[in-house]
Symmetry: C4
Subunit: 328 residues, 4 copies
């Protein structure tokens, strides 16, 4: 506040630069060609990194082109480290108020999921410099960088919303699976241990059989041979069908619910726009933003709009406009 004009100016320049960098890293919108270029550069970097990890695991390639792989890894770590630091620096520019404090805001940003992924993408490299680690593990763990792509997939918003909405149901499914897993593996150990002492050696090993059966995977490396064991095996397999049907049912109902909610939100936005009788060009642009945000297709949106125009809700007593939708 009481700073000299020079420091004031420097500070303003610093803020303006930070704002520019923030935008370049895709902070808001993706219309600017420079922003798109940065996006694509980072996406291609991640893809090449994954490719490098995969190819380096092939022995003769790893031997023949070792230095190339090493150089590319150094370059990648440099790029992703700079990206991480720039994101940390510009975190205070985020729209969310929680990140605005210069220190606590940045610390808060550091523990956000995407920031942790960005950190994990470079951490194994730096850890390997200080701690004694299996070199091969460090190499393979670079594959964690693939999760950085999560930032760029816009089609997943419905999927994430369904996952959040159905968290408890999915948790219940996993709990049921765990109980069934413990129960069937213990019983199978009881039934098959005498007949195949080396195959069903103990309950942890029987659990491997149980997982393979409950997920209807069926490798065939462990198979019951006694009549009781086969009966339990058949029951486990049928429970396994339920273990597939249960999450399928939960997710199906979750997606339907999400689409219903999103249609209703769009309908309400349409009704707000229609309150004055017409939809202006600005309102149409706004509706299109809402549509994209809700992940509705153009056809779905058009159908809702048409319906809202054709069937407005009026009060039967006085004729006033009502907004009803299907609230229950």
């Amino acid at each position: 506040m009481n700073a000299s004009p020079a420091s004031h100016k420097a500070h303003a320049r610093h803020r303006s630069l930070r704002r520019t960098v923030y935008h370049m890293l895709g902070g808001e919108g993706h219309s600017d060609p420079w922003v798109k270029a940065v996006d694509w550069f980072l996406i291609v970097m991640v893809a090449l990194n994954v490719l490098a990890v995969v190819l380096e695991s092939i022995e003769h390639l790893s031997i023949a082109h070792g230095p190339v792989f090493h150089a590319f890894d150094l370059f990648s770590v440099a790029v992703f480290s700079v990206e991480y630091l720039l994101r940390l620096w510009t975190a205070v520019e985020l729209n969310d108020k929680r990140f605005h404090h210069p220190v606590y805001g940045r610390l808060r940003w550091m523990v956000s999921p995407m920031a942790l992924i960005d950190l994990l993408a470079v951490l194994p490299f730096y850890l390997g410099m200080f701690v004694e680690m299996d070199l091969r593990a460090i190499r393979v763990l670079r594959v964690l960088r693939v999760f950085k792509l999560g930032r760029y997939s816009m089609a997943m918003s419905v999927m994430v919303a369904v996952a959040r909405q159905e968290t408890r149901a999915i948790g219940a499914v996993l709990f049921v699976m765990l109980v069934v897993l413990i129960f069937t593996s213990s019983l199978m150990y009881l039934f098959e241990h005498h007949a195949q002492p080396h195959v069903f050696a103990d309950i942890p090993t029987a659990m491997w059989w149980s997982v393979v059966t409950l997920t209807t995977l069926g490798y065939g490396d462990m198979v019951p041979i006694t009549p009781l064991g086969r009966m339990l095996g058949g029951l486990t397999a049928i429970l396994g069908v339920g273990m597939i049907a249960l999450p399928a049912g939960v997710l199906a109902s979750g997606f339907s619910e999400q689409i219903r909610q999103r249609r209703q939100e769009y309908r309400e936005a349409v009704e707000r726009a229609l309150e004055d009788g017409t939809i202006t060009r600005r309102e149409r642009r706004h509706l299109d933003d809402v549509r994209l945000q809700l992940g509705l297709s153009e056809e779905q949106a058009a159908a809702i709009l048409e319906h809202a125009v054709k069937h407005p809700d009026h009060c039967p007593h006085c004729g006033g406009v009502l907004h009803r939708g299907d609230g229950a």
Copy 2:
């Protein structure tokens, strides 16, 4: 009624103690820290028991730490026996009128599903003392204690409701599966017995193949090799896809229906609360109870509440009553 004051007082003290124990065992609500402590103690006990069963099945651990496992089992049986007796004693405190009679009420409680599970958790131990039983079976059957956890999983209410609602549909699916199982295994025995007399030895053995195929498990321990057998095998596999799709469809529609019903119930509770125009603090607490009971997420509840406030059952212009037509 005509008892002496002293016995009266003793009786009152007895009832008050019973009531306290009833609450400690999680009879009503989970807000009290002591109740939570008891809950967590029992949950950890069950988890440790399951772990013990699993670890004891590993031979070298069982030999090295036999006495520890034995001592822990004695302690567990003691704890679960006391728990069972306390629950039996306090059963008359349950809200349900059917359990209020001191004798018949307790007998009725004893045959309720959760009471049977609690009994099964300790029964093998006592049975082993009187009857000659396979020691290993007694040990492994302790894993039944895992079902005691069912009491603490609140997220499963929707799942149980769907299971109850769709009981007949699930029964029909299992019946169809049984008929298909009998039919395909008999035919496969007919087709493959000559080619592989030791693999498809009889129909019960062929049934094992049928279950493994109908659930798309596919261990590969029994595989048809004749052209007719492979045709039937392919048909069975396709029917197996139907056997997975059928319950998935039933459950998906069941979950959707449950969520629809629960949303509507919550909506009606909200409308009752809104009848006087506002939602008091007490009504809000009640709505939250209803929400938890219905297993709705806070977001879903908030959306229904907001919708009910914005789109009331009364016309905002003239106050006339509006009737929604989405009842069927």
Copy 3:
């Protein structure tokens, strides 16, 4: 018409006997204890027959108890033959007008699905008497009698309705499966024949691999080993996931649609009953019949009834009663 009184009386007695037999065979309702006894006798007979076929396939049982199995089979054929003839005789009593003609009606009945199943249950036995047939085949084909149980499963009405409603969608799924099957097996033959000439010997053999992979069965008896073959194998497996997801989606939407339709039908029945303002005892009995016929649970029916009473539809202009539901 001009028959003598005696023949008239005989005819009347004949008709009355036929009507009684018709009712005994479960032609209408299941309340009479005699009808239930006949039902249960036939169900137990079918179950015992299936058990006999399964047990007879076990060699040592078949040798030890051959005559018992044979006698039971003769008895079963006699019972099911008499049942078939009685059903044929009483077919003209069926409610459906198409069966009323004494000759053509019975012929029409003979080609109805349940009649064909009843015929198939005894046909192999009679065929074996005239035609030279594999004795083992005749024995095993008795398992066809299990389909007779279809008559007694009332919970399957929703399932049959969904199957009929989605026939075209299921047909389209099977068509897609066939095209994918032909395509992937031909390509896999092209990729793997050189590497494994005895495993992927020709396209029919590769089709077996394709079915096993597309249904995510995965026996492991045929596995691609070339890079191209494994890529195609992975693609086929992912298409296989689609082949499971597709019918699951079709059936889920089909069940939802059926339940919506049935709820709506019940709602309309309720509204018809409510037209005079109250629900009489007779109307209540009728609604219960409708509910059972539609396969709705008591809770669902109660919810619809309550909603219809609380939210009747009135015309906003004149106040007349409307029946609307959610027709679109």
Copy 4:
């Protein structure tokens, strides 16, 4: 315009012939028996071609009947080439305006999906004449002709609409699958490479294991044996269940949404037809066309029609307009 009458007449005859050919190839409707005959001829030709490819792959048939297969292939190529050229010629008759230009219209038609399939059906034959190609590949690739059947399957319109509507969701599912695939295969390589260096030789090989596990296929040719590997294997299998449940959920909700949209469209068509109070024969024919186009069953259409008649948009008592509120 200024052409001589003769050329004018020739041109008119040319156009009329083109129009006839266009109709013969099923351009519009399928009522004409000649059109049906052409349809069936082409369908049978495709089926016989697929059969020929399959049979020719069986060595002894290929050797014994080589000339027959060759002759039939020449005939098929001739038929499909003529079909392709006729379709190219008559493309300008298509209803879509984009195809009306004699040159650009036909070029646009050539890159439409069905045209490309028609081209692919004959291309390998002509390519084989000019380029050196594996003869067996040319033979097997004739199986591509099976995709020509897509033109005749009318039941797939709902399926295609769902696929188009859910494209982004399916893309997101595939993206999640890819990320999980890369992640699990890299980690499994890390865990199992030391224990089974020849089985989990490198990450591309581990990817084969990952695909086989994530799709719950489970061939059993590659199975983890270390404790860490089995834990990751179990996790991968459970993720695999999610990979099946996810698209099942997406498709279930997609089908429900499509059917809802189509029912609503049909309802609106019915209401337009009912505007004058009755449905004329012409309107009925039009409704039937709409029904077929929307892929609704006759029963569904009848239910919507009946509902619309019984519950009109107008009050039956006073004639006032009623507005339904199920638009969102």
